[in-house]
Symmetry: C2
Subunit: 687 residues, 2 copies
């Protein structure tokens, strides 16, 4: 290195000539690389490895300066500002859209229906019509059942299948999602609201509260989308949703035993112990075998047709019309045999006619408004989590992109509008979306077809449902539950990530043994604890050189890597060196450095450790406690006569090391690569 | 590469001959490297860079297998088991000790006094004697003051300066720490216990409760040490301790205004608003100017001597005896002028004689035992945090190692013994340890000298303190407070780490405006929120090649790094790809990949992105949501015609990628280095 010299602070200085050469090399390399796309078809890029030997040795001191003289990273305020700007006002993108697209395209961006509407033709419509009718045949009995689950009058379920699907069809981006009432949200609503208002004693106030909660849920959902707070939904991890859904399905199933057994007395609580006790009491006190027989026979009919539909694709239509067929058949049976006089519970009167306006039912100044808003928030997150999980998985199958924030706005608007027209919270249903997809839907028009069919039913056929037995509704809900329990996925989670499975099982048990809210809370809590644990677990790994290269890797992961005697190259197993782990890590490195000699680790450490190279490449952040520990570590090592070098610190980390004077403390021994560090330290020793 | 061939699954296979060569190369390299310590003095290691070109190209496919065929990492149970074993039963080390050291050395390990006791001589003792006497002159007035702060009779402070220092001298490893009552713990005790029992109305029960809390604190401390749970103390970060101490110092200072103003009515609350209101009331109602004049004049005397002592090292003794001088002088003044008849509050009777046994005062079956245990836990953590912070910083200055777990056992034993002999919680004092160090102490014998001096005072001089004015005690406490407020350190924290400063200021404001416990809770909470935020903050950084090397680095940190047109090399800014950030990261990478063309980022992205290389080297962990997002990302990129490759996954991550079938999903495009990935993808394209 003839052109470098040491200045008084001990770091290398370059002569101007050398700097010029380096600059030229950079320019030359950039030139070479810029021709890459052209040469892609004919030759490989001139591999940097081929040239690295020639330049590596006289590049070393320069690289050493690069590490220390990195530009200052953006500060906290700057980062916060950028984050806010990017999250809330993605103006850059918006301007771009305005510039690059015409106004019509921008409108199409707001209302996706305008984009695909132009290319819509009769052939596509035929498919959508078929899918929509299939959907309606499943949706009508399910909606009535879910309304009962939410402790509302049956017609509210049908109302919810009218307005929200229409609005979603205009605003939403998913093509397969089936909008309407769903089981989990219905359970969640009744579980939380009946603590405030009794649905049996005071049905009008209860219904008003449900509609108020729907309004709040819609407002929250729209706000999440508008302010790009979609990440709030991400707080429910995939594993947590799997566990939560399974727990909720079991709770819903147990609740349906009330209808299946035909009892009147039942518990309002949602934990498994209370419900099982209630079932036990019902079985001993008052149950009607006719209800049970009717319900179970049609349940087995529905499940059999579904089984057949899975076996033979041609029989798919059978499984989709089975629920409606069951309703029609059982209603006829009850009507003909007048079984309702023998204890078979029936739906009785369903109010006919379209959705009435429900603005007067909103309780915005009532005593429970604050609680309604709280419940609205929980329901909004759960409903969005289900809808977005469903939408994303089908979008991924069909290979198109789902805009999470736009979806949220669509969901929010449809629920706000729904709350003004006697609907309760609607979202994308797991089971019906799958049916919609299997029935061959092409666009969201199938939702419109379904809504129109529901409107016709509301106008014409509600009085035909007078004799429909409640046990049939229970069996239709029961038949939809197996789809919510994904044992396969739970096993996958267990296989891949045990800690994630803990969140899953936590949500499941929380829902079963405590309540729906506590299940959610447990899931989020466990998820964050696992984040903390995997961020701070103290631990170091020893790196070894892959023979014949200058790549240093974990010796446990790559058994062929060779440790260098006398030099300990170490890296953290965690990403933060902070208050919670820095002391433990300090002690571990000290132990490794001073104890290695005695233990004779792996047999190849036959010399005393003379140099510790601390590879910081995976250290995301360091706090003041971590900095203090590093200083203490350096002092302790120095008093043992062991040198200490740091390699490849990231932007934030090198900035903090400089601010805390640690760089000067360790004699500016900060390097870009482990190889550089070892070479430089040996060179210094010889000098 | 003549000896490689592609097998049916698309990964490279080696002929036996090639494998043999590779094995030989490994063996040869290991041989070369093992001679390193011998050659250290004469030549540098044969740099791997020199040989890397020759072997790199035909090593590539082998390396590619190494990544995918890494051995299975230890499972969760295995890790848990190891962690427990290492933490709770460090048997390996113990056996080692038994084997390598004789019995006497092992005893010396248990009782450090036996180790250094042998080399102890009169010369060292002279230094310790001087330091111990200096310490005692400061300790006696402070102990009486802190006992008043803890709302106990003055003699309890003196008792606490007798038994604990003796026991610590036998068991402890720190040489400079000064054991006894401290301000923050005294405040914490009175603040929490007076909520249960009124110290004025029922002093006997209050004292019993304090002693019970001391017992529990000692048990907890000893248990932390014995079960190696020292990390619990680490939950209080350095920044939190700085903020907490400053807040506590201000609270203590305000409490002292009671003594300084000579009022009787004062609030029991510890938040700043209540205390300021009480001070305001006292100033308007009933205060005695004589107390104030006496207190203030001696306070300025103590502060002046300290200022002089700092300016001139020779006058250091002046500052250390100033408190005792003030006590003697003011007592004389009051005795001679009988100022107590004119409203100057005096200490009055201090019980003389050695520590009485206090076993009968322990309330182990009382109604408040559970609460006492809870308070004991908090006090134990705070006391340990102060002692270990003090001990570590002085051990670091003198360059010896402080065993945290052994320290905790020593603290625990001394407090348990203290609780049986009328002491309250003792720990290492910030201010007195500094004085001990400055006075030239060599070993912990200075603590013994101090304790003996206190014993003599208890036996002979307590009746001389009858006329000591309370205002003097207040001014002695006040003079010790500036040492607890470390503005300099707070500024450093602000400079280095803004989020850490948030924990600091949170603890400070929490102590001031709510209570001591809430301040601690805020600090721990803020600390963990910052851990979560820095672990999950979504963000990616673009990597570029350093010209002339195959090292890829962040283009923002190293402006000389060059991006390769058509190839996006990206890395996460966080260490976890999990539920909370995976979706956001997926969208960001998609946007970078598909939007780059439009935006013309940095001007050099003149081609459409054809390959995304995702550098996983800093990814510590991935959960099932993250895996699902990666799959979705791959699908979306594939539908855009963009290739996706992964490099350098860590042990846990590659294991999970394999389990989740992601490796097969992306066509086994997993590489060790970014260079390998780019080369292999281009080679594949040409083929």
């Amino acid at each position: 290195m003839p052109s470098t010299s040491l200045n008084e602070r001990g770091n290398f200085q370059f002569s101007e000539a050398h700097e010029k050469t380096a600059a030229e090399a950079v320019a030359r390399a950039a030139e070479d690389l810029s021709q890459f796309p052209q040469t892609l078809q004919t030759t490989t890029v001139p591999s940097a490895q081929e040239t690295s030997i020639m330049v590596a040795d006289d590049k070393l001191p320069e690289r050493f300066q690069w590490v220390l003289n990195a530009p200052e990273p953006p500060g906290l305020w700057c980062k916060l500002q950028n984050g806010m700007t990017e999250t809330i006002f993605p103006l850059k993108n918006k301007f771009q859209h305005l510039r690059e697209h015409q106004m019509s395209k921008s409108l199409g961006n707001l209302f996706p229906i305008l984009s695909w509407g132009k290319a819509y033709n009769i052939k596509v419509f035929r498919k959508d019509l078929l899918a929509g009718l299939t959907l309606a045949s499943l949706c009508i009995p399910q909606s009535i059942g879910y309304a009962t689950l939410a402790k509302l009058d049956p017609q509210y379920g049908l109302y919810t299948s009218v307005v929200p699907p229409f609005l979603y069809a205009i605003l939403g981006t998913s093509r397969e999602i089936a909008i309407g009432p769903v089981a989990v949200v219905s359970l969640l609503l009744s579980a939380m609201i009946q603590k405030i208002e009794d649905p049996v004693a005071n049905p009008v106030a209860y219904t008003g509260l449900v509609i108020t909660v729907t309004l709040f849920a819609g407002i929250f959902q729209a706000a999440f989308g508008a302010f790009r707070l979609g990440f709030l939904v991400d707080l429910l991890s995939h594993a947590a949703i799997v566990g939560f859904m399974a727990g909720a399905a079991i709770m819903i199933g147990l609740q349906q035993l009330k209808g299946l057994l035909g009892t009147t007395k039942f518990t309002n609580k949602t934990d498994i112990i209370s419900v099982l006790a209630a079932v036990w009491r019902s079985v001993h006190d008052s149950w009607n075998p006719l209800n049970f027989i009717l319900g179970c026979s049609f349940l087995s009919f529905i499940l059999t047709t579904r089984f057949l539909g899975r076996k033979k694709k041609k029989l798919f239509w059978l499984s989709t019309i089975a629920p409606l067929t069951s309703v029609v058949l059982s209603t006829l049976i009850v009507f003909l045999t007048r079984a309702d006089k023998h204890g078979v519970k029936i739906v009785k009167h369903i109010k006919s006619g379209l959705n009435p306006i429900s603005v007067h039912q909103l309780q915005l100044n009532g005593p429970h408004t604050a609680e309604a808003a709280k419940i609205g928030l929980i329901v909004a997150v759960v409903a969005l989590a289900e809808a977005i999980a469903v939408g994303r998985s089908f979008a991924s199958v069909r290979g198109y992109h789902l805009d999470g924030n736009k979806e949220m706005v669509a969901m929010g608007v449809m629920n706000v509008a729904g709350s003004l027209t006697s609907c309760y919270v609607a979202t994308g249903s797991f089971s019906r979306t799958a049916v919609n997809f299997s029935a061959g839907c092409e666009t969201v028009v199938s939702n419109i077809v379904m809504a129109v069919t529901v409107i016709i039913s509301l106008e014409l056929f509600t009085r035909l449902l007078f004799y429909t037995p409640i046990a049939i509704l229970a069996s239709i809900i029961l038949s939809a539950l197996p789809g919510l329990i994904d044992l396969n996925e739970a096993y996958n989670i267990w296989k891949v990530d045990k800690l994630d499975f803990l969140a899953c099982i936590g949500a499941f048990l929380g829902v079963l043994f405590a309540s729906v809210e506590i299940g959610l809370l447990v899931a989020v809590g466990v998820s964050f604890v696992t984040v903390i644990l995997s961020s701070i677990q103290p631990g170091t790994e020893t790196l070894g050189r892959i023979p014949g290269t200058d790549i240093f890797v974990d010796v446990n992961q790559y058994p062929m890597a060779v440790e260098i005697p006398g030099i300990l190259v170490t890296r953290l197993k965690c990403a933060l060196l902070c208050f919670a782990n820095s002391n433990c890590i300090k002690e571990r490195i000290l132990q490794l450095a001073t104890g290695k000699q005695e233990v004779g680790d792996k047999g190849n450490a036959n010399g005393k450790t003379q140099l510790i190279v601390f590879d910081m490449s995976n250290l995301m952040n360091i706090d003041t406690t971590g900095l203090a520990s590093l200083k203490e570590l350096h002092n302790s090592l120095a008093s043992e006569g062991i040198e200490f070098a740091v390699t490849n610190p990231r932007w934030q980390v090198i900035h903090k090391l400089r601010l805390a004077n640690f760089v000067d403390n360790i004699g500016r021994r900060v390097f870009l690569t482990v190889g550089d560090a070892i070479d430089a330290c040996i060179t210094a020793k010889i000098a």
